[in-house]
Symmetry: C2
Subunit: 157 residues, 2 copies
């Protein structure tokens, strides 16, 4: 099958972009990943209105990416925080791939705003492509696409 | 420095989302990566209006992700196609990270619509996190963020 004969409108890339492509969604996930978990802290940190943040968090909870958790703060008032589900944690590779690209092509002249280091050894962390046989893959020229069980032909769409 | 004291509104993740987060942008890049390069072919393949596609392609050319190239078709009419720049090709790791996530969490019950295989050995290709010392990194629990030269404190923003 030729790639151009496939109906790719709903491939996995398209589905993921639909789920997380809306503005702010990935920045909210980044905050929670970095330990900023309370509504007001997230709001202050990324500079977003309460109503937009509430809407985006509702979406993330509905999609099973964030979970709301009640905890007691020091003053014993019951408060809410957000934590990543297992599905939400899996977005981390996407965040690092986006960051690598931004560091390389979009950083200000003085350099990136932060580095992500491996705790064990202190070396910088980045996203790379590998195959299941362990070879590093350098870009789309070294791959080929084959039809999977969920594919549809364009004419059958 | 504590993460929550940093002004992260314009970190590399935010910048990249600003550049490629708009709907259709990544699907257009996916098409060109897969060799679908002519305006009318891209339009037909992803089912997008001519005016929206023209606007998105203008954006991609302005950002230095796509380049327009003139070639002669079999009938010797001059035609235009789009190719990825080096910067555009670097988006491929992001595409595969998005695809991995979609395959795992958002694919239809029958399975993913396609597989990406390493040409050399036929094994499946995926995005993973590694550090520059060669260790595989399993998620955000194994990393720490440190301030880079382009960082700003929140109070200084």
């Amino acid at each position: 099958m030729n790639y151009s004969e496939m109906d790719t409108a709903y491939c996995s890339i398209g589905r993921t972009v639909d789920e997380i492509g809306e503005s702010w969604i990935l920045l909210i996930v980044r905050e929670v990943t970095m330990g900023v978990r309370r509504f007001s802290d997230i709001q202050e940190h990324i500079g977003i209105s309460r109503s937009v943040l509430a809407k985006r968090i509702d979406h993330l909870v509905a999609e099973g990416i964030l979970e709301s958790r009640v905890y007691r703060s020091e003053g014993h008032r019951r408060r809410n925080e957000y934590v990543l589900t297992e599905k939400g944690s899996a977005l981390y590779t996407i965040l690092i791939a986006l960051r690598d690209y931004g560091d390389r092509y979009l950083a200000p002249p003085e350099g990136p705003s932060s580095f992500t280091l491996h705790k064990d050894c202190g070396a910088e962390v980045r996203a790379i492509l590998v195959c299941d046989a362990g070879h590093v893959v350098n870009g789309s020229g070294e791959v080929e696409g084959v039809r999977g069980p969920g594919s549809k032909l364009l004419s059958a769409a």
